[in-house]
Symmetry: C2
């Protein structure tokens, strides 16, 4: 599977060194085959992340339970091998690539944003702020240290965010 090859290549080589050619080699296919299915490297990574994240688990009845489970779910996914690197990598590329930013926003962020709006009954801008805080914090830690956030700090993030969105 291409997605598995992508994540494992990103995991061992980092985002920039995980070239499309290497990913293709790891998947046992040709580079051109990848470009036949995805227009750019960024689009490949986004689809790969969509596959890795899957749907948000909206567990728990109370708002507090929903939010804390969402935070822990995001932290857990980002901590999986390759996922955090890939996420931070595309995110970075998107900074200077408006088209990729659009893909990121519409295909990756929007579904989760809508699901959270629905589950929490909060307006769009509040949920966007929530996502900025949670994902931004997790990615900043990943980007600065190269390691995902440890459990104690994920706990702190949950406690930081809970009283604010009450």
């Amino acid at each position: 599977m291409v997605f598995a090859a992508t994540l494992s290549t990103v995991h061992e080589l980092g985002y920039a060194r995980a070239t499309v050619e290497r990913i293709a080699a790891a998947a046992g296919i040709a580079k051109t085959t990848i470009y036949r299915r995805w227009p750019t490297k960024g689009a490949l990574i986004v689809d790969c992340l969509l596959d890795a994240f899957g749907p948000v688990p909206m567990e728990g009845g109370s708002r507090a339970e929903i939010m804390s489970s969402a935070v822990r779910w995001a932290a857990g996914k980002i901590a999986e091998p390759g996922v955090g690197d890939a996420f931070a990598g595309v995110f970075s590329d998107g900074v200077s690539d408006p088209e990729l930013r659009e893909i990121l926003s519409s295909r990756l962020q929007d579904p989760y944003r809508l699901a959270l709006q629905d589950a929490l009954g909060e307006p769009e801008h509040r949920v966007l702020f929530f996502i900025d805080v949670v994902v931004g914090t997790l990615l900043h830690r990943m980007g600065m240290t190269g390691e995902p956030m440890v459990d104690d700090d994920v706990d702190a993030l949950v406690e930081l965010v809970l009283p604010f969105f009450r």
Copy 2:
């Protein structure tokens, strides 16, 4: 000045399109001159950011005043033309470049971290978490939308962070 040329080039072209050659042209010097002074593009950007940020203004006597002024100061700087793009850009590059990450962490983050530890009397890991939340949130907004965070959301960020670090 090279720094001014760097920021204005990044501002109009974005991080990736702001090549060293273009920055040099904007500064009226040759590309080789830049590489004589800075080993890599990342190092140039970091020095540029250090120049743009300057020292943290540790205003206010109470912890709450110190923290809220620090958050607003960071948000204001990141909102300056070119600064946010440059910051998000190097940050992204650092994801897959351990050497650049080391430069970012030691030259850019550490001074502010130490100043905050000193001013707030908090242990290192708490201040690091504080920086993750504040800078991560600001950069995530910048990266997702291409625009700096509006004042209302900066206010929200201050209110989110204040009760937690009490």
